[in-house]
Symmetry: C2
Subunit: 397 residues, 2 copies
Amino acid sequence: MIFSSKIERCELSPMRKYAPFADAAKARGMHIYPLNIGQPDIATPSVFFEAVRNFSAPVLEYAPSGGVAEYLDAVCAYYNRLGHTDLTDANILASNGGSEALWMTMSTILDDGDEILVPEPYYPNYSTFITLAGGKVRPIPTTPEEGYHYADREKIEPLINEHTRAIMFTNPGNPTGNVLTRAEMKMLAGLAHDHGLFLISDEVYREFSYDGEQMASMLEFPEAAENVIVIDSVSKRFSACGARIGAVISRNKEFLSEAMKVCQGRLCCPTLDQVGAAALYNEGPEYFAAVKEEYRRRRDTAYEMLMQIPGVVCRKPEGAFYLMAKLPVDSTDKFQMWLLEEFSASGDTVMITPGEGFYTTPGKGIDEARLAYVIEHDDLVRAMRVLAEGIEAYNNR
Amino acid sequence: MIFSSKIERCELSPMRKYAPFADAAKARGMHIYPLNIGQPDIATPSVFFEAVRNFSAPVLEYAPSGGVAEYLDAVCAYYNRLGHTDLTDANILASNGGSEALWMTMSTILDDGDEILVPEPYYPNYSTFITLAGGKVRPIPTTPEEGYHYADREKIEPLINEHTRAIMFTNPGNPTGNVLTRAEMKMLAGLAHDHGLFLISDEVYREFSYDGEQMASMLEFPEAAENVIVIDSVSKRFSACGARIGAVISRNKEFLSEAMKVCQGRLCCPTLDQVGAAALYNEGPEYFAAVKEEYRRRRDTAYEMLMQIPGVVCRKPEGAFYLMAKLPVDSTDKFQMWLLEEFSASGDTVMITPGEGFYTTPGKGIDEARLAYVIEHDDLVRAMRVLAEGIEAYNNR
């Protein structure tokens, strides 16, 4: 049987290889601190479950392809409160999480051989959706020493060619935790406008920005009104990853009309989850303030403890709930296997995400890793101690 | 801005054009009987809502990419009860409805220029997913006079060429209501096996088969074990379209492994809806018997009343909840517009689905229409009377 050459270029999750070794470690009685997962531990606001429980229609019907009115209204009101007062429900398409928002966008803009510029390291599933649509990632290179900084016109402009269709990034960043400044965002808006490129801004971590820069959106720049496509989701914002409710937001009417073909093709997003997601948007500033404060505290702890490990290279990340760092080991992949198979800190060990999976460029990321701080503060402190002990023991083995 | 040539080859739903005219008719006080929709009116079993209400985890987490164990177990047990006792959870991938099951399958098997054989008329979204993956529909032609019969080896085999990757059909059929005989299914299995083609069998209407032929699955034919991919969903089976929970079922391990890349790319299907869907599979034979009896009664009524209209061509459909027929009008599109704009049967009118949208071949389906019998029996009787009156008045206008 013949398979698509596109699916053959995609890869299964690189994290799968560690699962049997993690299971074996647990079976030996080891406790594993998971610094490798992007699943928030903060409780989903109860309004979600209440709205779902109160749903009383006898038939669970298809939702409209573009989204349930109640959900679109809620997302629209949220963006209006952010200052984008011209946006209406017609600028928003509901999606099955940020994931489908990406898939829809790629399907709408890419042909075989097209390229998308993506700062490296990047969220690995970008590559899956780009590849499935026939395109390929052209990485914007960065270094851990420069804090994975990518937003330089001089760095990006030479990479643009006749195949380039878009620039895509996560802001605040996954895996780096980088947050763009207003000046950098304005530069990107101008660049996209000047070259007629889509600017795909994945803003699912928008609220989680810890150092002064107010939370922002690429929707703020009128010069790029036709270029900007925002990817959004309730997954991280409201700790509701399992709801699978996201959105595509744009002012480009032609894009929205083309993307609507995909929406109609897959009929709709889940009705109940959209009703629940609409309720989530009633959460006020105090909800966000509390969650942000919790993540900020963890970010500070994780970063400070990481920097006490000799040889680590990391610039303090300003947002999301990740740190990306160069670790003083030969290979974070080998190190992770060793942590699971041979190491024990009084019965504890730790999982990280080795860096290679975040890169397209061969050989990059080998001594880097992503750490996610979505476990409770006390556990995080212990996890960082175990990591420090592990690095020392690994290099002295 | 440049869009994908693939999305440009897709079309917005042909039904959209009637919506403003339907709204205008309603605003004039007209009552519209909807014979155009595929949304079942039967109540969703309450076990779905109970399971969702009883969900008590504080964080709505990501589900596993392949599906929640509880849901996979339930689907597997259902297939085991159908007699496919070798199937395990590993043969099943959860999907966002049958729609995503189709999208996943197309993404996994198609490259640009590949072809899929599909009997015409067909469910229009097949074309969307095939086109988005770079492929194209090669129609297997049928006629209303022959009851849209397509399962002839002599008819299909000459259409196979070096670009053909699969044969895809809905059984029981949408829009035709056709149900394949065991002999026809066996022929298709042999054909797919002989030519090394995938056999994509969309069996979302499996339970709705009214005339003797027991409900069946392409999974029954061991000679096509590596070829068969079954598309499934709770949408029609349990009147739970808004749950968006479906599945891909196959014995082809390589296919499942490649499709898992898509599953991991989009992370997962909604957690709560999978929990609800798992509960639906506890419904016993009495549930299916009652629903089937209700649909059978409506099928009989709709068919008998349709055949009383002079000039209609329709062979009695054996399954699903649709009839496809040739109507004695010049154009079902023009007729539909006239029904909305000019006709009134004591304040009532009716909507049908004009046939052209179910065909790829230009000029086909112009005087055909699909009728869905998912409204209550009394309403159906009135709707069929309004339709008959409408046809007479249209031709005498």
